[in-house]
């Protein structure tokens, strides 16, 4: 069994039975920031609390990345194996609009306003076999 590791610490709860994206919320003005930070982008306050973001929201905007990015892109893909991928901002109610990769890459199946949920999946596999996990947004079936 390979290890599964988060792509970076502090981005989402991991390991966890039900992982969630992590935001900081300003105790002064109430604004949430993602990724969680030490201070507030809105009011520059430094009194912030960590909280889990809701796991469902709506697609605010999107695009399909049709060409393979240069480094620091590090998916393990080559020019030959690269597959276009969706990217979008998902509005998580009461929180913030989070940019994330989408599990869907067919433009015909994406629309502004559709319901999305966050999922945590293997993004790449390291040479030592470790699976690097990141977050993705997935259309909610039947929504």
């Amino acid at each position: 069994m390979n290890n599964r590791v988060a792509i970076t610490e502090g981005l989402f709860t991991w390991p966890s039975e039900q992982p969630a994206l992590l935001a900081s919320r300003c105790n002064n003005c109430g604004i949430a920031s993602f990724p969680a930070g030490q201070s507030c982008m809105a009011c520059s306050g430094q009194d912030v609390s960590l909280e889990e973001l809701p796991n469902r929201g709506t697609l605010w905007t999107w695009t399909i990345q049709q060409f393979m990015p240069k480094p620091p892109y590090a998916s393990g893909e080559t020019m030959e194996t690269f597959k276009p991928y969706g990217v979008g901002y998902v509005e998580l109610p009461g929180g913030v609009r989070v940019e994330g990769r989408l599990t869907e890459s067919d433009p015909a199946k994406l629309a502004i306003g559709m319901e999305m949920e966050v999922v945590f999946e293997t993004f790449r596999t390291e040479e030592n076999g470790d699976e690097v996990v990141s977050f993705f947004f997935k259309p909610v079936a039947g929504a």
Partner: protein
């Protein structure tokens, strides 16, 4: 003292690909061209500001032009570098510190999308690793939302690029000098939905230099001084939708372009309807569309009719990017904003040749937008 400022010399090295010259050498060509245009020598220049993203320090131009001991400041502000250099020089003359100075910008980039360094912008490396650190994505997502909100069609996106290549074909300093049809643009390879490859500008090469002086001394150098009525730079506020942002606020605020435009019009004491010719950042087709409204030249959504009816063409009622913009010239980061000013000075001198706006334009406008959310605006007057 509070001096008015004039542009009395302009120089350019043609944009595109110049295998024989480094970016800095292209900057030197532009600098000599600008000095000649003002009828002065490098030793007459009292100060300089310049910028380059990937071709070295602008002040190293002194090695090419002569070591005269002047204060020569390097400026780095992403795609707004040119605008930032110009504002720095404007303020230097405005304050009464010096009478005569140069701004310059040059670059020579590798092919393909720009490399971006997450850490340099205060972001985690993961953001780049998963493939979100791309300006093309941001612009695609912004215009996707904008089209949804304001009813802009895909054909209008193609018409912006068609105009850019048509204007570029009339400009001897442009990189792309072949007109391309709307059909070919719309049907080309998709890069970031809804934008095809012809709708994006590409990293390129080139150099631009300008000579600025105290307005009351301008006629010593030229018969057609062009006065800098405004030079404003703004960065993003909380709530504006910007490039390289892992999240966006739920509250929405106007972007730096709106803020810079508003301040620039106030400073110049004119309004959008007074402007005769405008250069707006067109990183891609959608950016030109959105920037028309963000700069105050129309309401959101009016672009659909304005562009389809030809209003933004050289002979239209609001000519935009008359030299072909970034789409036809490419984007050498350090030089790009100054190219807009070069073109506007040509237009206001009524010396733009085949791409001259008819009717003897008197007021011109330039606007750059760059990562991670900076806009610079100038208003120029004949």
């Amino acid at each position: 003292m509070d001096m008015d400022v004039a542009i009395v010399g302009i120089g350019i090295h043609p944009f595109g690909r110049t295998p024989g010259l480094s970016g800095m050498q292209q900057g030197a060509v532009a600098a000599r061209d600008a000095l000649k245009d003002a009828g002065i020598e490098w030793k007459d220049i009292q100060f300089a500001f310049g910028g380059s993203a990937s071709s070295g320090n602008a002040d190293a131009l002194s090695n090419e032009l002569g070591l005269t001991g002047i204060p020569f400041m390097n400026v780095a502000n992403g795609c707004a570098t040119g605008g930032s250099s110009l504002i720095s020089a404007y303020n230097t003359i405005k304050s009464g510190l010096f009478d005569l100075g140069m701004v310059t910008g040059f670059d020579k980039h590798d092919r393909g999308a720009f490399d971006a360094d997450p850490e340099a912008l205060g972001l985690g490396r993961w953001y780049g690793e998963v493939g979100m650190m791309l300006t093309t994505q941001f612009f695609a997502m912004k215009i996707q939302k904008y089209m949804h909100q304001y009813g802009i069609s895909k054909e209008t996106l193609a018409r912006v690029a068609e105009k850019a290549f048509l204007n570029g074909s009339l400009n001897p300093n442009a990189w792309r000098r072949q007109p391309v049809s709307v059909e070919e643009i719309a049907g080309a390879m998709m890069v970031n939905d809804p934008l095809t490859k012809y709708m994006f500008c590409a990293p390129a090469e080139g150099g631009v230099a300008l000579v600025l002086c105290r307005a009351d001394k301008a006629r010593q150098y030229t018969d057609t001084p062009i006065y800098l009525k405004s030079a404003v730079l703004k960065s993003r506020r909380y709530g504006s939708f910007e490039v390289f942002a892992p999240s966006q606020a739920l509250v929405e605020a106007e972007g730096p372009t709106y803020d810079a435009a508003k301040a620039a019009f106030e400073m110049a004491g004119v309004g959008p309807a007074d402007i005769d010719v405008m250069q707006l950042q067109d990183t891609e087709s959608g950016a030109e569309i959105m920037h028309m409204a963000e700069n105050g030249f129309c309401e959101h959504g009016e672009q659909e009719h304005l562009i389809q009816s030809g209003a933004t063409r050289i002979d239209g009622s609001m000519p935009v990017n008359t030299d072909g913009g970034c789409l036809a010239n490419g984007e050498p980061i350090g030089a790009s904003g100054l190219r807009q000013v070069y073109e506007t000075v040509l237009q206001l001198r009524h010396a733009a040749g085949d791409h001259q706006v008819p009717g003897e334009p008197r007021l011109g406008y330039t606007h750059v937008y760059g990562a991670p959310g900076i806009s610079a605006v100038t208003i120029l007057q004949r």
